[in-house]
Symmetry: C2
Subunit: 243 residues, 2 copies
DNA sequence: ACCTGAACACCGTTCAAGT
DNA sequence: ACCTGAACACCGTTCAAGT
């Protein structure tokens, strides 16, 4: 709204000592990048400050504390996601929902530990306009498919929880295996913590799985199964009243 | 196997300075109790040592490090659960599965943060005989209901993930609300991070939910919905070939 | 054999002082 | 206005020494 006749307002300098001036947003984005590169365990106020080329104290000029820093990072993380389009037509909604879940999964995988960090710091998901629009669209999708609005809301929450839970509990182990697991475990039909000891254990189904399985389920296979269960579960609920 | 004629083997003293001698198990159980009482943020080697009445160094005589401590606690946690019986008959499997999930949920809620701690320390679930038996039984249940064995395994994993995810992402917020959320939020139809700002936001479904909902879903309602989706999803997969 | 006390390197956070 | 350097209270972990 400023007229050209006014003297330009004094502006915050954009640089200082060769690097861009810090902002709350730039710090949050740096934290998010850090997470993607080095993981949640290494993200400390001091290491982030080193990355940014400032003293640790400088960060506190823009965020309250570590909790606040992670909140900003979570906000940016959520606003960064652009979901694929959802077309709730009778012949396409299942396919579209599958693609939607796959895309959400990929987004979370890009920033490992974001969720477990937020969990640990008791951070409620950040309230960003983009995130609100995305949630609203997913609820609308389920409503159009045939769920009553309260159920559409519950289905939306369950969908997000399924994807986030899968990434945190399954993908994260696969993408960043802990150091104490030797790589040979990966070719086993069952994960190491489920392998039956021997024939004496009286674990008939695990034993049969261990013997009969040629190669272990890939994470993608497991994810496809879980999403199919979700889709069929939703499908059962709209059966009859669908459209 | 020792005969009565042999001199009794020298035994480890059971007490020292008035308190019971430490063992790997007693330390793990103390850590688990601590989690239930004071939560994961306060569980440190030093605070646990104070609780036990020893110096921090003493703990290191029984566990390798903090990671190992949490592993022992996780083992005990898993071995502590006695699941309800699963009877895979045509008329009862849905009811039994519902009860099974409810019981597993209750078990995890008793020790808040156990999962997120294990996640953070990259701990694969502990390999305890009791846990293996429980997993084997659940796979057997799904197999009897009508799933091929590989699908029964996938369904077992999905079931556990659903329950654990629900406890970590939903119940934990409800049972231990973060300090910055005022209690008034609890009576709102939507959680604070989903409330639309005003009429201008163009969030039609969230706005309608906010206006039409009398009282918010209880965690139990949300959980029942998620489990029903799971059951229907499994049901769709065994339809026709059921028993 | 099992423990204590002191110490080290690290962390989040704050204070007083610089420019 | 924005930053640095030093400091404080905490943490996991280790060392040397006690009983």
């Amino acid at each position: 709204m400023s007229m050209s006749s006014e003297p330009p307002a004094r502006r915050r300098p954009t640089h200082r000592k060769g690097r861009a001036t810090l902002t709350r947003e730039s710090i949050g984005r740096a934290a998010l990048d850090f997470l993607g590169r080095r993981g949640p365990a290494e993200l400390t106020m001091r290491s982030l400050a080193t990355d940014l080329g400032v003293s640790p104290r400088a960060i506190y000029n823009y965020v309250e504390d570590r909790r606040d820093l992670i909140t900003v990072a979570a906000e940016i993380f959520e606003a960064d996601w652009q979901p694929p389009q959802l077309v709730p037509t009778p012949d396409r909604w299942r396919t579209d929902l599958r693609a939607y879940c796959a895309d959400l999964r990929a987004h979370y995988r890009r920033h490992p530990g974001m969720t477990s960090l937020a969990l640990r710091e008791n951070i409620t998901l950040a309230r960003h306009p983009t995130m609100l629009r995305n949630v609203d669209a997913l609820i609308g999708f389920y409503a159009t498919v045939g769920l009553p609005l309260p159920d559409a809301y519950r289905a939306c929450m369950e969908t997000i929880r399924l994807v986030v839970g899968f990434v945190e509990f399954q993908d994260s182990l696969h993408d960043h295996p802990p150091a104490h697991l030797d790589p040979a475990e990966h070719s086993q039909p069952l994960p190491s913590w489920l392998q039956p000891d021997g024939p004496g254990g009286d674990l008939p189904h695990l034993t049969r799985l261990q013997e009969d399985t040629r190669q272990p389920d890939s994470p993608d296979t497991l994810f496809a199964f879980s999403v199919q269960i979700l889709i069929d579960g939703i499908g059962a609920r709209v059966a009859g009243g669908e459209f």
